[in-house]
Amino acid sequence: MDPQHIRNFSIVAHIDHGKSTLADRLLEYTGALAAREMQEQVLDAMDLERERGITIKAHAVRLNYQALDGQNYVLNLIDTPGHVDFSYEVSRSLAACEGALLVVDAAQGVAAQTVANAYLAVNQNLEVVPVINKVDLPSAEVERVRQQIENVIGLDASRAILTSAKTGLGTQDVLEAIVRRMPPPAGRSDAPLQALLFDSWFDPYRGVILLARVVEGEITRGQKIQLMANGQTYAVENLAVRTPKPVEIERLGAGEVGLIVANIKRVADALIGDTITDAVHPAAAPLPGFQQVKPMVFAGLYPVESDQHAVLREALEKLRLNDASFFFEPENSAALGFGFRCGFLGLLHMEIVQERLEREFNLDLIVTAPGVRYRVILQDGSVLEVDNPAKLPSASERKQIEEPIITATIISPEEYLGGLLGLCEEKRGVQKGFEYVGPGRVMLSYALPLNEVVLDFYDRLKTVSRGYASLDYHLSGYQESDLVKLDILVAGEPVDALSFILHAGLAYERGRALALKMKELIPRQMFEVPIQAAIGGKVIARETVKAMRKNVLAKCYGGDITRKRKLLEKQKEGKRRMKKLGKVEIPQEAFLAVLNLSD
């Protein structure tokens, strides 16, 4: 296909500004879809995605459109994930596009994610076309929104398209703008193959499916291809495009987007951002921007019932087939028994993995406090990487600890500056940059310890900026820091799974807060349970869960034994979901108490 007749674009918007409704209209108008039901299969296919209203995986749909110039165009709509944990995936999806529609609600105006997403698109050099949606609402203020787009984001909004995705108004204008204003892909089909792999997933019947954008050259069925990051070669078994129903095709030319099946067994071999090239005539260099995504956050995963260990391992292996950014290895806790140390992209990613394990594999899990990977320099000069606080060598064995530092870029309306500076300071940040980007908007650059960011930074950022600040970050290196291990003792016994590493300056305050939180979370038992926080054997805080004084049912109405039995069974079931450490029963959420200290 002539690249002149191809447009690759994505839609970016603040939540509820009409992104998916507009996508529906485009699919409908171009005949890709008649009914809403099918659309729901295209976007957000996982239950979790639908429930949480976030996109985790990228998707792509091909639309055929005959423009007013009489020409037939192929428009590839590429949907992107929507959370900072997946910002690398977002950047790769956007890298597969030449343009983006920026949808803004005509009544609500420019909102936090409008700005954050617009910047992402602009940074990828996309042609951004503003779309003012919901213009049929009585409260629509088109001119005010137009001004906002120009002032706040700095985009020319004079030619913004006015739509009502609900009624279908302006749909054709949008399609025309895609064709006329967004550039066609620039590649040539006779050049050596370079295709950008921007998502991959595991299909139990066909192995790994690649979602790719051909940048230069072409891919044909039967061709031997190579994934440049790992050097492996594969034969292309199948090529398809989604319309949104998968339709098999023979070749994908420069500028085209499609699905590739090539007998790849593991998602880990098909890394997002990798370049697909021809195995026989490879391109001289891969496409820019590839990164091996590394887990940033680590936590222990344990089955509540120890006989579920094998089931958990199997579940983790299955999940890993579909998620190359997730990592796990066996570990052993004195308190929790056999489990796994797992690495995640961020807290949301961790929650998603946990939820999928519990839901799809019917497991009850204990997740330990999330932390980061430290570099410990021992007395003999050797270096040890530690991602499990329980394995931190004692103070006398180590010379120093280095912690991972990120460079965070925060863009926000000026009015939230005070709260943001306070937050960054609290999280031990060092300011690296401060500039105005457009009227009333600031961009902050901070060096921040990753371990402060993984806990609740993103949520707090959204709170202090009422959702308007956007965050992007990347790992910038390691830095020596005064870190200590905080131990929690329950009934006099240290619980390794509750230990965590933190800055010495924060240890007393957080130790006290954590002991107090644990006291709230651990139910009263048949005996008194002391809870202590300690650093290197020195107790810095103590709380006591008082012994339960009574637990007995007195009355028996007319011989209702069944009711009594049900109450006992309910009580027993409640205990079953708790973890028994020695004689003390601890609920699952206590292991994550450190995440909720500010509640």
């Binding site: 048949m526 339960m548 007195a554 039995r565």
Partner: protein, 403 residues
Amino acid sequence: MRPRANSGAEPLSIYISVPFCRSKCSYCNFASQVFPAARQSEYIAALEQELEWTRERESSLGESCATLYWGGGTPSLLPAALFTRVMTALERHFPRQPGAECTLEAAPGTLQSDTLDAWRRAGIHRVSLGMQSWQAAELRASGRLHGPEHIAADLRTLRAAGLEEINLDLIAGLPHQTETSWRDSVERTVAAGAPHISIYMLDVDEDSRLGRELLAGGGRYHAASVPADDQIAEFYEYGIERLARAGYRQYEISNFALPGHESRHNDGYWLRQPYLGLGVDAHSLLRSAAPGAEDGRDLRWSNLDSLEAYLAAIARGELPRAETIWLDAESQLEEACFLGLRRNEGLDLNRLEREFGEAALAPQKAELRAMAAEGWLEENGDLVRLTQRGRMMGNEVFARMLH
């Protein structure tokens, strides 16, 4: 399935439910309500019907009645004529054995001479007076209509009528109860000299207005004035200790009696003796190995718990049952353990072994031994019973009897 003693020979207890009240107490989690008096005769007619159909259908029921208990609700509100009708019908289907124990629950302030006469003539010789407290403020806050003066007057009336076998109910944990007021109520209860006393602790659950309010953290029904859980425990412990000094023997978690005045009907529940419950939300247990019982399983059922549903079922010609559960040997053994442990005399392991077999009892025995080592139970020959510590934590112990 192992053969078991012929339960047809076991004494049958009968429970009659009267779901009518003058007002609904805030702590009440029973299916009683305030209904117009006209519904009472309709109800009694339905109850007679249930009795007749049950007699026809459940052939494994014993022939005679060893204990009879009128509970509620407020049975003392039932007019004498309706009461007598039921007693006559019962006598026809399940004649009372000589010396049968016959109890009726009465609310203070509801005694009337004609009903008292009817009770006595029909053989009622025990009256359980639902007094709950001697403090006017506590009674008012719980929605009770009586005051301390009614209790004193009723005690005189009952005794004058020759009804000496009296039980007095006390509740630990009523709104506004304090250590002083509780001790005063216990003291006055002891001074009243009734041969039987029950002490209940407030149940906090979804089934009562006050319980729901407490769970929701609200302030209605004087919820904010309910004593703390730990204090209720202290009240209960004080009650046990004070009644012991006064010569009352605790024979079950909530029940205390002067020697020889224990309630056989009450004991029957904990010993899993068969009982037939008639009326709204009444419960029944039929033992196996009796003619008609299926392959050694016991049968429990409950009746519908709303008056309307109960009446409608009878009108359709159906037994008004809500839930029917067949208990296999394992469930029976579990029940025998967690119910038997409620009795101060303890669990008779010898008897259980005879009934269920050595192998079946082995896991329970191991658990009991473990709990004895932990101090929750004490062993005395073949008897295992709760220690005082274990009694306070009864549910923790009982739950470990379930598998």
